[in-house]
Symmetry: C5
Subunit: 307 residues, 5 copies
Amino acid sequence: MMSDRVKQILSWYESDNPGTLSKLRWILGTGTLADTGKLVILPVDQGFEHGPHRSFAPNPPAYNPHYHFELALEAGCNAYAAPLGFLEAGARTYAGELPLILKLNSHELLHEERNPMPAITASVDHALRLGCAAIGFTVYPGSALNNAMYEQFQALAEEAKSAGLAVVIWSYPRGEQLSKEGETAVDVAAYAAQIGCQLGAHLVKIKLPSEHIEQEAARKVYEKENIPIKTLADRVRHVMQAAFDGRRIVVFSGGLLKGEEALYEECRAIRDGGGFGSIIGRNAFQRPRQQALAMLRKIMNIYLGKE
Amino acid sequence: MMSDRVKQILSWYESDNPGTLSKLRWILGTGTLADTGKLVILPVDQGFEHGPHRSFAPNPPAYNPHYHFELALEAGCNAYAAPLGFLEAGARTYAGELPLILKLNSHELLHEERNPMPAITASVDHALRLGCAAIGFTVYPGSALNNAMYEQFQALAEEAKSAGLAVVIWSYPRGEQLSKEGETAVDVAAYAAQIGCQLGAHLVKIKLPSEHIEQEAARKVYEKENIPIKTLADRVRHVMQAAFDGRRIVVFSGGLLKGEEALYEECRAIRDGGGFGSIIGRNAFQRPRQQALAMLRKIMNIYLGKE
Amino acid sequence: MMSDRVKQILSWYESDNPGTLSKLRWILGTGTLADTGKLVILPVDQGFEHGPHRSFAPNPPAYNPHYHFELALEAGCNAYAAPLGFLEAGARTYAGELPLILKLNSHELLHEERNPMPAITASVDHALRLGCAAIGFTVYPGSALNNAMYEQFQALAEEAKSAGLAVVIWSYPRGEQLSKEGETAVDVAAYAAQIGCQLGAHLVKIKLPSEHIEQEAARKVYEKENIPIKTLADRVRHVMQAAFDGRRIVVFSGGLLKGEEALYEECRAIRDGGGFGSIIGRNAFQRPRQQALAMLRKIMNIYLGKE
Amino acid sequence: MMSDRVKQILSWYESDNPGTLSKLRWILGTGTLADTGKLVILPVDQGFEHGPHRSFAPNPPAYNPHYHFELALEAGCNAYAAPLGFLEAGARTYAGELPLILKLNSHELLHEERNPMPAITASVDHALRLGCAAIGFTVYPGSALNNAMYEQFQALAEEAKSAGLAVVIWSYPRGEQLSKEGETAVDVAAYAAQIGCQLGAHLVKIKLPSEHIEQEAARKVYEKENIPIKTLADRVRHVMQAAFDGRRIVVFSGGLLKGEEALYEECRAIRDGGGFGSIIGRNAFQRPRQQALAMLRKIMNIYLGKE
Amino acid sequence: MMSDRVKQILSWYESDNPGTLSKLRWILGTGTLADTGKLVILPVDQGFEHGPHRSFAPNPPAYNPHYHFELALEAGCNAYAAPLGFLEAGARTYAGELPLILKLNSHELLHEERNPMPAITASVDHALRLGCAAIGFTVYPGSALNNAMYEQFQALAEEAKSAGLAVVIWSYPRGEQLSKEGETAVDVAAYAAQIGCQLGAHLVKIKLPSEHIEQEAARKVYEKENIPIKTLADRVRHVMQAAFDGRRIVVFSGGLLKGEEALYEECRAIRDGGGFGSIIGRNAFQRPRQQALAMLRKIMNIYLGKE
């Protein structure tokens, strides 16, 4: 039976067909955090995005695509997200074992751009044939190519929803008019969350917001309206407002490999600010397996309110 | 029974199928101004266009997508216009309660351009599935990318009309060859109205025209033909001529949050110049709810000739 | 019964289906010049192309779209050409009253370019639904964007012919490698006519050629072959050779509002040089109605050989 | 009955359907050179490519599209190639009289570019409706836009072959990295022939190669391998090797109007080098009719080995 | 009966349909290395890529397309790869004799670019009609046009897999941000292999990696994790890790014509590092036939562990 919390969350998605709702329910009902309305997702797209050596050499078993299916399963994650090749390589062995999110676009680092845009490297049909629960798609708000990404997302999301899939957006501000620290500025993060929600994503993935404010027009509002952004929990709370007053699922990314305590602090802030959870890649698969499992268990305990 | 005025207005749309006419009739027959041929529309696309903080922090309940459906309903507006995410988030709760206009394109401000162009962020199919009365689309006459926007509009409007929807155009001149004040110049506003009508929109939204004249070739005509443009009502009257001699519905936007009296003056000028009404966003949802309702009531009274 | 002259003209269109031939026959069989093989067409696309004030303020009743249908009918024109909005606004009232030509592309002057290209603003389906006899399309030979226009024309013309419509091309040389006077140079005008014919148009509209020669490679030929271009009638005769030795219908545009006598002189030269007639917009609708009707009557008399 | 030589030639086209083979057979079996495996083709696309005056003023009857059908028929050419307008203008009168090749792309000279690319000005459907034997298409190897042309060719050639048509390519090297004399250099001509064949054309049209070598990397090979390129016949022989060791039909273009003797010399070299024949436009239609017929008769005699 | 090794290899392709698996099985089960899991493939696309003279003049019988089918057959290669024209020219004679790989894109050298991109010169339908086992496609990771190539590959690979074909990728890093030696750097080669696998190719072709490291961020990892890259076998082993821990077929290209002993050394390193084999073009067809056959026999013996 669905928990009341999951029922409530699903009730916010007023336009979706039962096929799509069942996929959201599958994600929310899987793993250690099943039925709590909280999520921890394992994403492994770094082999394409940063190169195989930078991604997997710290923990060589992770070169093998099966490793990540098993890590996500054993850790009790809600879902596993990866590009086409990685999912194809385990599709039969792990069919139906856990919700899969197929990343439909990817970007490599042998060519870097000030206004980046990923390539479309998989399709909605692929997601259906692989038995996925959702498609995943990256947009870079602030890139000079933003329109092209929004239009690709629009078309793919519409096709996915019609086919009864859920839609996850990676909303990562980048581009020539944003400073480096502006990419995680609180105003920019809130804007990125709003864009993801207005574009119709079911689940929005953003980076944790810093205290920095990037845009002058925004700064005036933060000051005039006295919006609290001092603590990370404050900023998560503010970003959740921008996510339709909390009526859309937002998860926060873990970023670079870092110390465990720092990670736990972040998760507590996400939880206290009303965020829905974490999407943790490098911090999981770049650690030795047992260490990663212990860490993920602890993070899930934080979301369960046990730590 | 349809009023004679509404019958007259509908008679001007000589090429539309009964499905589209019934949607226009729904919009003209809804709310406080029902059957008068006048309109007040609530548009809430600013979360995407300017950011969530700049839009909703002045009145935080407005972060919630349900807020705007209720504001439009309670105020007796003719229709509510918003992008995909906002409409999806209330589609079931408010199904059939009031005419909805789905904005099919959107533009964000994390990247600004001299020749802007919005991204297509929703489809005609979305509008049909959400039970909308119309699609909305923004063009920027004067942008170096104007052709691309006109061609997108052409294709989407044709599809919408075939599917029995009405078509609303936001015709907002911008771009490298226009001065800032030229964007609202009276010659430019009249040109923007003409373009919207020639493109086949049923309802054209433009900005209120100033006394400024932007183009030299136009100035000669205004002087030679002695076209009256001194008062705002004169200019509205002139713009209505450009809208097929008044045979197309034109509404005027409220713009930035401003004092109530200034707003009422504008509405009287629109009414006296033969305009069809107002499309008021920030001036409505950035005020506290009761204040906004009182203001909208007063504006509707102006259009009813009571103030 | 079709006149021998019309039969002869139709015989030159060897590849067209009966549907298209019947539309050409409708145009050639309408109005004061019916069955003579001569044509006078009323085009009203200037509201979009130059702005509403520059187009209609000299004769304000012309703001109303019905005005032009009635002017064309009362004057006995062979056809009326306009963009989507203007035709939609009279489609029901004047259904079947006279051959309509839907302009499928349009260009506005709030943004000017050295290498212009119009936007596609209507479709072949629109033309069919509006009961039109033909589509109209503008190309700018000499623009750096010429290929794009030719390819759009190719696709739309093929679709129109398959649907039994006639195809009219506005072939107006412009672009960075042409001088201002080169746009109407006799070599360029002949080239523009040839391009229109080779692209498969049934009816080609060009500007009246001046005595200027633009291209060096062409000048050598004019001198070597001693091609007569001294009088306007000579030049029309030369252009008609370039139109498949006169086997394609070519009409000449009237251009800016000018004195009546100058206009009559031009029409006599068109007639004497073997041209098929005139397409007269501003010189018709910018004059007061009665004056315009008298003028058009006189022009038709010239083509009838009565003046 | 098909001659052994024609049977042999057709046997090299191992992937084509009977429809396409029958069109190749039609071309090879038509005119004075029928069944010899040699070809002389009349191409008349210069009205679009260079302008009507430069093309037809030297022999004014050539303005008339019927002139060229008759010239090709009377001269006993294997086929007549032209753009859409010219073929449409004779399609009914000469239906089935001789193999027609519809040029699907065209380029005009009112705008010149360093990296030229023609516009697509007709379709495979046109070719079918006009009863053509083949489509013709121009590519400019060496242009910065080469990829776009190859991809257009690929799509159109595939469509044409599926519909049972033959495919002719004009492979004319041009572009910013080629010198003027490099356009006809022997290494470049051989490369152009290879590209045409690898792209899947049945019949490749190239310019006659000069003794010049354009690319350094190629020069080393010519010297090391001692490839004979001294005489024109040597160079034709070399180019035929590049055409799949002679297993593809290659014809050579006549170029600018020139003296008859020079032309005959070229044809003898083509014959002696193993080329399949000539495609002769300006040298045919710019001469008075009787002179052209005599010249073409003589050229055919050369290919028949009689002169 | 399928060997256990081939069964194992096929088991890694978890998402493919039986049609595609049967094509992989055909390739793995053909020629001298049948059922060993090792491969030697003959690719002949150099006529298009470098020109016919540079490719075939050293061994003129190779101008004839039949030559290469026969070379691959007689040498006992697993497959023969070539562009459209070459395969069409032998499609009937050698139908079903050996697995064919149709190269779907090609690049010519009459125009060179810093950020190259091949043109699409054939289709999946061509591959099906020609009876091919697989499509082949080149991408240039590191080119500014990388996204366009990945998206083309994505669409064509999806279509090919659905039609039961196998998919081979040529993953050749090139572009403005890579140094010349960086194109074969070990970090770049590993990245290229990963990209090919993540894009969903069944068989990845890369160049042999040098000891050079191109990217600073990669160098840090190689040093920190102490990845062995000293010998060629080490580097092949590392690249195979990047190929999903060896769960994807990777073959290495032979490059320029070189001495036989050097070639044998390379093949031993590929074998010892766990690579799947070689793809050898110029080193095969630029040698006289008997010499090439002896050399290929020796290479196959190396892969069989006999030398």
